[in-house]
Amino acid sequence: MSQPQATELLFELSRPGRRAHLVPACDVPDRPLSELLPAGALAEKPPPLPEVAEIDLIRHFVNLSTRNMAVDTNFYPLGSCTMKYNPKRHERIAALSGLADVHPLQADESCQGLLAILFELQTMLAEIAGLPAVSLQPAAGAQGELTSLLVAHAYFRHRGEHQRSRVLIPDSAHGTNPASAALAGFEAVSIKSNLRGLVDLDDLRAKLDERTAVFMITNPNTLGLFDDQIGTITELVHQHGGLVYLDGANMNAILGITRPGDFGADMMHYNVHKTFTGPHGAGGPGAGPIAVRDTLAPFLPTPIVARQGERYYLDFDQPLSIGRVRSFFGNVGILIRGWCYIRTLGADGLRRVSENAVLNANYLLARLKGAYEVPYGERCMHEFVASARVLRRERKVSAMDIAKRLLDFGFHAPTVYFPLVVPEALMIEPTETESKETLDAFADTLLRVRNEEAAVLQTAPHTLDISRPDEVKAAKEPILRWKP
């Protein structure tokens, strides 16, 4: 039950003199600070943080939490994000003191258990990818992309192929792909989609040349379609001396069914917070490990966990390594959860994840496609993209209106207006952890909503704490912090 108590801003709840934390009396000689630190370095007073009592603090944040939809409270079919159930056992295990209270610069001898977990995770991710070398360092999918492209850059430089300056990216790709390419020092070149929503081979052929460094592909792609031309695509790219990168955002569809390494990808990233049920943390943290072919392994960031006999150690000895993309080892807390997940499911369980993710998506597609246009494909993999184009044209009801109205019925909205190749896109990914009853309720709602009066939809939501925010105002006169 959502209620307004204590949801004023923290700063408005603040009263001078209130506290929620005490520091023990100092048990070392109480020398004046002026003896310890130069006067010029000291602030006159501490920062003007709010002052709240513990009950105010807890009531504030707990009441705020009730103003969220989350996987634990609502069906959350946010396409491309794989909002599956987050097992509670992972939270308890990741919080074990023997894992959570380990300092990143401890000697290897003093954290053999953790290194064993990370080593095993490297091995398991290599097997699932069909690519032998893994770096667990990247903090999220986008950083995994960047890391891989930096690896590719170093690889080509090492081979003296300095002319390889371009990264080819399908127009249906996530925005992180071109952004990562630019940051890695490449020119991003867009490849068209064909009428089936797949890579336009003619356009790819026309743009492949000796300047091509990498072709980035999301497969299944953001339309939820497996690109069955993948064999031809990877062959073409390799013929031109380029590398194939797999954006692993959609790995939930193909676990144990086909492996990127087996279909010709040379490198890829995982989103542990998606495929291996992170959780998502209201926007992070994630973890974006990458897997690459043997030939690229020397360029991976360091350190990697290595094993000698029964002893695990951090291996920094990689002279061709690109270096680091962050401090310390990686987002270990999320990696531990990913390890828990793969160890819980095993090979058979992972395969069943993909089978049921694809089953659930196709079931929703089958129930909805009579009422909503689905421009690409009679079938899909783990997600599909419907379009509200007709509704828009005939009744001035947009994808956003549908999305907002769903909130009134207790369903989180699908991803909207992405991918860009579908007008008025509604990208729906149910995941395997939802029951048929939930899917039916969601489908029934979408069917019902479609026939509601335009005015009801255009002004939705009607039952949440707030109605639609004025986003134009927010961007035009940005207020990014509270001020007294």
Binding site: L9, N86, N356, I466, P478
Partner: protein, 452 residues
């Protein structure tokens, strides 16, 4: 266990609706040649009881800071995490939500991130803060890239050698293929001498990057460095320790243009290096060049105050290759932890925590440097971390292993990054350390140094 509710009956009914006969048929689109025709070679599935047992066994093979007294720092610190932080971050309404794209269904997260941005602005004295980056190292890299976006004609970056080595490496990796030249300025006396900076600055210097307190624990002459940088038209970027701001002047007070930090100290467990929290704050006029998500305040159709993700035209999902950064997923839950931590401590709690760190660190330094052959490496003021020089070869002869056997993660040997400091280690002392622990460390070090 796959957390799948579908029963065989459900599956049959669903397959019938779809119009296919089997699950396998759903994958017909995948060419047979690339299908995996064997099970993945993975360890067998485990029940929760088995998994828990295995995880506990493996956790038991680590020397955690719960059983080994931690004086390790180097960018990750054993500060106390109040229970309220875990209580709030453990609310699954927060941790099982995603990026608050649908504002009406995400006001809880959005308001919390708006409060986080405000708290970081208050903490640093800067005008605005973003809703988080990955961690301290990529935050430095993002700050330099942001500076480059502000001043695209300048290409020369000056970086103090006293900045965390991981941060310097991260910056080098991020800028490897960009039109930026990073020059590292030596810090043999444990700090960047303003005179050295003055010499190194050029007309095309984009920015100066320092860490304060720095990797050795020493304070930098930030006011002088900022003024000298600005005189040459270069931006001044500082990586700070958030706890130190309970005592030290804030980046906004001494002229920083962009202030970044590792936010782990703000209520985030050590967890072997992550997930942590990248903090980035800057002057107000730079806001449209900032990387990462920003939450803004607005009103709904009824005029009610509310919050949304804003200025998204900076970001990759809109601007693609022209975005200010490639970051998408950030560290939302860690930002929430930091917000709860700062609110729990308040101004007085932060001041007392910082004072306790400073007093205990100085006491520790006093006790250790009484031992023969142990001295402070740098004659510079420090906050909670400091560098000691040990007798020649002591570290190589297993000093730290011995101290670990005595129950201490005693310090961080610096030779890995600085060959001239091969006989040095840094120690960090947080408010958690007690006089008894410090005295015991001094005794153990004394014994270890005189043994054999």
């Amino acid at each position: 266990m796959s957390y799948i509710p579908n029963t065989p009956n459900d599956q049959q009914a669903m397959l019938a609706t779809i119009g296919v006969r089997s699950l396998t048929e759903l994958f017909d689109v995948i060419p047979p040649a690339i299908r995996l025709e064997r099970p993945l070679a993975l360890p067998p599935a485990l029940t929760e009881i088995e998994l828990t047992r295995l995880a506990q066994q493996l956790a038991g093979r680590n020397r955690s800071t719960a059983d080994t007294v931690c004086f390790l720092g180097g960018g990750s610190y054993d500060h106390f995490v109040p229970a309220v932080v875990d209580a709030v971050a453990g609310r699954s309404e927060f941790y099982t939500a995603y990026t608050p794209y649908q504002a009406e269904a995400s006001q809880g997260s959005l308001q919390a991130f708006f409060e986080f941005q405000t708290l970081i602005a208050q903490l640093t004295g800067m005008d605005v803060a973003n809703a988080s980056l990955y961690e301290g190292g990529s935050a430095v890299a993002e700050a330099v890239l942001m500076a480059s976006g502000l001043e695209p004609r300048r290409h020369h970056v000056l970086l103090a050698d006293s900045v965390h080595p991981d941060y310097r490496q991260t910056l080098a990796t991020y800028t490897a293929n960009l039109d930026l030249h990073v020059q590292t300025l030596p810090t043999p006396a444990g700090f960047l001498d303003p005179a050295d900076l003055k010499h190194a600055l050029r007309d095309d210097t984009l920015c100066v990057v320092v860490q304060h307190p720095n990797f050795f624990g020493c304070l930098e002459e930030v006011e002088a460095l900022a003024a000298i940088s600005h005189a040459c038209g270069a931006l001044f970027i500082v990586s700070y320790d958030p706890i130190s701001l309970g005592l030290l002047k804030r980046p906004g007070d001494y002229g920083a243009d962009i202030a970044v930090a590792e936010g782990q100290a703000l209520g985030i467990p050590l967890t072997y290096g992550g997930p942590y929290l990248g903090l980035l704050a800057c002057r107000g006029e730079f806001v449209r060049r900032m990387p990462g998500r920003l939450v803004g305040q607005t009103v709904d159709r009824n005029g009610r105050r509310c919050w949304v993700l804003t200025l998204q035209t900076r970001e990759q999902h809109i601007r693609r290759e022209k975005a200010t950064s490639n970051i998408c997923t950030n560290q939302g839950l860690m930002a929430l932890r930091a917000a709860v931590y700062l609110a729990a401590l308040g101004p007085q709690g932060l001041r007392e925590t910082a004072e306790a760190c400073a007093r205990k660190a100085h006491y520790t330094a006093d006790q250790l440097t009484r031992l023969p052959g142990v001295s402070l490496q740098f004659d510079r003021p420090f906050f909670k971390e400091f560098t000691v020089r040990l007798p020649v070869g002591a570290l190589e002869r297993g000093l730290l292993d011995r101290l670990r056997d005595d129950g201490f993660h005693a310090g961080l040997p610096l030779g890995r990054w600085y060959s001239w400091l091969a006989d040095c280690m840094s120690l960090a002392v947080t408010e958690k350390r007690t006089r008894a622990e410090i005295d015991a460390l001094a005794s153990a070090l004394g014994r270890a140094l005189t043994a054999k």
